[in-house]
Amino acid sequence: MISTATLTAGRVWRWPALIAVLTSFGLLSALLGEGGIWWALSWVTLALPLAVILACAARARRG
C-alpha cells in the first residue's frame, strides 16, 4: 500500500523531477551527440525551465 507521504512526494516532485531529467538530458545531448538534432534537443530541453518560469509568472499575474 502506498503511504500518503509517498503520494504527497509524488505530487510535489512530479514536475520538478521531469524538468530535472529533461534538462540533464539537454546538458548531455549537445556534448555526446554530434551537432544537428542533438544541439536542437539540448536547446529545447534547457530552455524548458525558462518557459516554465514565464508560464508560472504569467499565471500569477492573471491572479
Partner: protein, 394 residues
Amino acid sequence: MTRLSVHRWRWVHKWSSVVCTAFLLVICLTGLPLVFHEEIDHWLDDDPPYAVLPAATPAASLDRIAQSSRQLYPGQVIVSMFTDDDEPQVIVTLATSWADYNADPRTGHWIKFDARTAEVLEQSKPAGEDSQTFMGVMIRLHMDLFAGLPGQLFMAAMALLFVIAIISGVVLYAPFMRKLDFGTVRADRSPRLKWLDLHNLLGVVTLAWALVVGATGVINELSTPLFALWQRTDVKVMLDRWQGAPIASPAELSSVQAALETARAATPGMTVISVVYPGSAFGTSYHYLFWAKGQTPLTSRLFSPVLVDARSGALVGAVAMPWYLRALEISRPLHFGDYGGLPLKIIWALLDLVTIVVLGSGLYLWLGRRASSPATAGQGDTVLAPAHPGEAAE
C-alpha cells in the same frame, strides 16, 4: 520528514547560502560576459587579417617558425608552440630563461605567426606591460579574486557551499510545497510571500543545471592541485628512466617539426594542438610534450599527452590520463556552456540570470526575516507554519 530534521536542513540551507551568496553573485555576474568570451574576443579583436591563400596551402615547418623566433629574441628560450586547429596561426611563447618562466609564467611573451607563410602577424606587449583587459579582469574575479591558488581554493569552497545550498533547498522543497500546487506564486499577499514562492520556483526548475554548473565549477577550481598530483605520481614514475640526466639544452634539440610528425603518427584520428619544450614546469626536462585532442564534440575536449625524446626525436609514447583529469576535462564544457552553439550560450546566460534572482531573493528573505515575524507572520506565512517551525524563530 520530522520537524527536527526540517529544522536542521533549514539551518544547513540558511548558513551554506548566507556564506556563499556574496561570492556567488560575483561569480554569476562575471560569468555572464565569460559565457560569450569567444564572441566578445572576436568582436574586440584588432589583429591584422590573415593573408588570403588557397585552402590547400600547406603549413610552414615549425622548425622555420622556431628559427624566426630565436632570431627575433636571441638568447631567449622557446617555452611552447600552440598550433591552432581553428585559425591558421602558430603562437610561440618565449621567455628570458627557464628559471624566470618557471618562477612566474607571466614573464613569458608571445609571437603570433601565420601558420602557412611563417610571417610574424603580431606580438604581445613586453612582459609586465600587458595592461588588464576587461575579459582578463572578469576571469580573475570569477576564478580567484586576484588571489592565485588560495583564491581558487576559496572559490572552490564557495562553489561547494552553493552545491550544499541547492541540495538542502531540494530537501526543504517537499515539506514547503506540501499544500501548494507546483508553480504557485502568491503575488497578491505580501512581497515576502511572493519572493519566497519565486525563490522556490526558480530554484527548483533550474535545479539540475545549477547543480551541474556548481559541481563542475568546484572541479575546475581544483585544476592546479589535480595537475600537480598527476605530475607527482604517474608522470614522476614515467620520468624515472631519465632521472639525473641533464636537461636538454636548446642547442641539443632535435627538429620540432620531425617530432610533431612523430607525435601525429602516434595519435591517429587526433589533432595535435600544442607542444611544450623541454625545461618547462608544465612539461619534462628531456622531452617535447605534445598535446593531442580528438575530433568529436566530446573527444575534442579530451587531451592526450605524447612524449617525444627531445634529443633523439624518438617516440616515447602517449601518457595515460588519470580519471580525475578526465573528469576535469569533461567539467570544462559543462561549466562553460560552450558546446552547443550560440543558442546554448544564450540559454546559459538566461539560466545564470535566473540564478542571480534565486540568490538575490534568498538574501532578501534572509535579511527581511525579522520584519515579517512575529507580528506579521500570521498574515502571509500561515501556510508555512506547520512545516517550518524555524521560520519565525530565525
